[in-house]
């Protein structure tokens, strides 16, 4: 069962990078929303949301254009993406990871699901709600050549990773929602 939802998540991530996402979304009204039992965030806008275990994706125009990925309470040994090919291992979260290693986890995971030229930059301390965390920027290209940019904030609390990743097409979409994403990042409250 765990394998099957991981596979589904990986397929979604691949499809999202390729530019289209299937149905199964529900509406998230503006206001405060709880992400599992881990943290809550607030948004002024309505989003379409879909959940896969501890992973949630929010989008407005489609995850291939812009998406906020919430990873809530990722535990030691868990991966951000599914292992589809049994010959290839995937990066896994380790509760002892330092911020640079969390950034590497994100960068390497995105690189394994079809993106190229993935770079994580600007790693620096930041608040995640009321606790110490960090943030960094992302750049990548889909294999079809679409340039994407991103932002991520995260922290490790009680050996669990809390992570929010925003990824959007550099052309138009990134700038269109980045202010709202910053508001969402600033609104995090740990549960």
């Amino acid at each position: 069962m765990v394998q099957s939802w991981r596979r589904l998540l990986a397929v979604l991530l691949v499809v999202a990078l390729a530019g289209c996402v299937a149905g199964g979304y529900t509406l998230v009204e503006p206001g405060r929303t709880q992400i599992d039992e881990e943290f809550s965030i607030s948004s002024n806008m309505a989003w379409s949301q879909r959940a896969f275990g501890e992973r949630h994706v929010w989008t407005i125009n489609g995850a291939g254009l812009e998406a906020i990925w919430f990873y809530a309470g990722i535990e030691d040994g868990d991966a951000l993406i599914a292992q589809i090919d049994e010959d290839e291992d995937v990066p896994r979260f380790d509760a002892d990871m330092r911020p640079n290693e969390v950034m590497e986890l994100v960068v390497d995971s995105i690189g394994l699901i079809g993106a190229v030229n993935v770079e994580g930059t600007g790693l620096r301390p930041a608040e995640f709600g009321s606790v110490k965390g960090y943030r960094f920027e992302l750049t990548l290209q889909t294999k079809e050549g679409l340039i994407k940019r991103g932002l991520a904030v995260g922290t490790i609390q009680e050996d669990r990773l809390q992570l929010i990743v925003y990824l959007a097409a550099d052309l138009h979409y990134y700038d269109k929602y980045v202010d709202e994403v910053e508001r969402i990042f600033a609104s995090v409250e740990m549960i």
């Binding site: 290839e88 380790d94 330092r98 394994l112 190229v116 790693l123």
Partner: protein, 386 residues
């Protein structure tokens, strides 16, 4: 999504063409030759041309003009008459692989270029791929598949040819290469043709067997049970190495060169990225074997030793911290070690509880990379360690 209708059309043409295809032996393709419009071969070409359109726009393709000129130059040096018919695409992918489409689309993976020790080894592999092109092996292969399987299988192959995404595959290049699984006799033919061109161009004949020795050793050392893509349908490695070594012995009188310096100087500026992509495969044992070989060869020792240390830092098995520190220390002694070696050393020292050494390494990182984009984070760590 706009690709779908044209891809389907290509597949349909392929299916129609397949209904009247011949099983007769095919002659070699001549320089400048294109298939007759009404032939099944024209259908195959059309499907590959669509794939090539996608490839041309793909971010997987390495665009550097000098590197492209260099590899294309090797192809033209091997077979000047076919120079205009072959279009080289350098694919940013860590696997050791190269492939050849029936229409002259040649893909050369950066993983091959990272592993080749010299131009002769690269030239041998490219010559082998050109052997497939000249003998029109893809046409034979597609006709063979069509005759042995049902239409759905042919349709599936056509889908793979035009780059329909395969789950888990990093690139459409993998899908493309997967249908180029030639038979062993075809591989032997391509070896023979490739060797002939390679020898005529003045390359050191011993390098053909050498590249296979290197790959065999790396595959045996690796963590993954599957062979590298280029091994998939090839003759048994021992047979191939013996054949190529025999050919080299027969050709040993003529003057030749491996062009090692020229090759290494050309790829020098790309090695860091290629090593990083290799590391991301997490085939740690295979990478360890490869990096040891590259360090021994003496090209880019500092950066290779840095990546060797990264293997241990990421793998984090028992004793890996010590191995990482050893590799980083050796890297620092070289002139070409990247500043990141100090940052990685700091993290490993920190995890070993050596806080003073960690702090010192962080400070050296900032000294060598004062504009580092993670400077604020590193300063925060230095504060934590104080």
């Amino acid at each position: 999504m706009s690709r779908a209708p044209t891809s389907v059309a290509a597949c349909a043409i392929l299916l129609i063409a397949s209904a009247c295809a011949s099983t007769a032996p095919v002659s070699d393709i001549q320089p400048g030759q294109r298939p007759a419009l009404e032939s099944d071969e024209a259908g195959f070409w059309m499907a590959f041309e669509e794939f090539e359109d996608d490839l041309r726009a793909s971010s997987l393709v390495v665009r550097d003009p000098a590197l492209n000129r260099y590899v294309t130059g090797v192809v033209c040096n091997l077979a000047a008459a076919y120079c205009q018919d072959i279009r080289v695409y350098l694919i940013r992918h860590p696997a050791f692989n190269a492939s050849m489409g029936p229409n002259g689309t040649m893909q050369v993976f950066t993983g091959l270029m990272l592993r080749a020790e010299n131009e002769a080894q690269l030239a041998y592999v490219l010559g082998h791929e050109m052997g497939h092109y000249i003998r029109r092996h893809t046409l034979t292969r597609m006709r063979d598949v069509r005759n042995k399987t049902d239409a759905a299988s042919v349709f599936g192959l056509a889908g793979a040819m035009v780059g329909v995404p395969m789950s888990g595959a990093i690139s459409s290049g993998i899908a493309y290469a997967s249908i180029s699984a030639f038979g062993r006799d075809q591989e032997r033919e391509a070896d023979a043709i490739g060797f002939q061109m390679f020898r005529k161009a003045g390359y050191d004949p011993t390098q053909a067997a050498r590249i296979w020795e290197l790959l065999t050793a790396e595959a045996e050392a690796g963590d993954w049970p599957s062979p590298p893509p280029l091994f998939a349908s090839h003759p048994p490695t021992l047979e191939r190495r013996e054949t190529l070594a025999g050919l080299a012995e027969e050709a040993s009188d003529a003057p030749s060169s491996a062009y090692e310096e020229r090759y290494q100087n050309t790829i020098l500026q790309f090695r860091f990225d290629w090593l990083r992509e290799d590391l991301r495969t997490r085939n740690f044992s295979g990478s360890e074997h490869l990096y040891d070989r590259l360090v021994e060869a003496g090209h880019g020792r500092g950066e290779t030793l840095f990546f060797k240390g990264e293997i241990y830092r990421l793998r984090d098995d028992e004793g890996d911290d010590e191995k990482a520190v050893e590799a980083y220390t050796l890297a620092i002694a070289e002139r070409d070690a990247p500043p990141e070696v100090f940052r990685s050393l700091a993290f490993v020292e920190w995890s070993r509880g050596r806080r003073a050494e960690a702090r010192q390494a962080f400070e050296r990182y900032l000294e060598f990379a004062p504009s580092a984009d993670d400077r604020l984070m590193i300063e925060f760590h230095i504060e934590e360690l104080s």
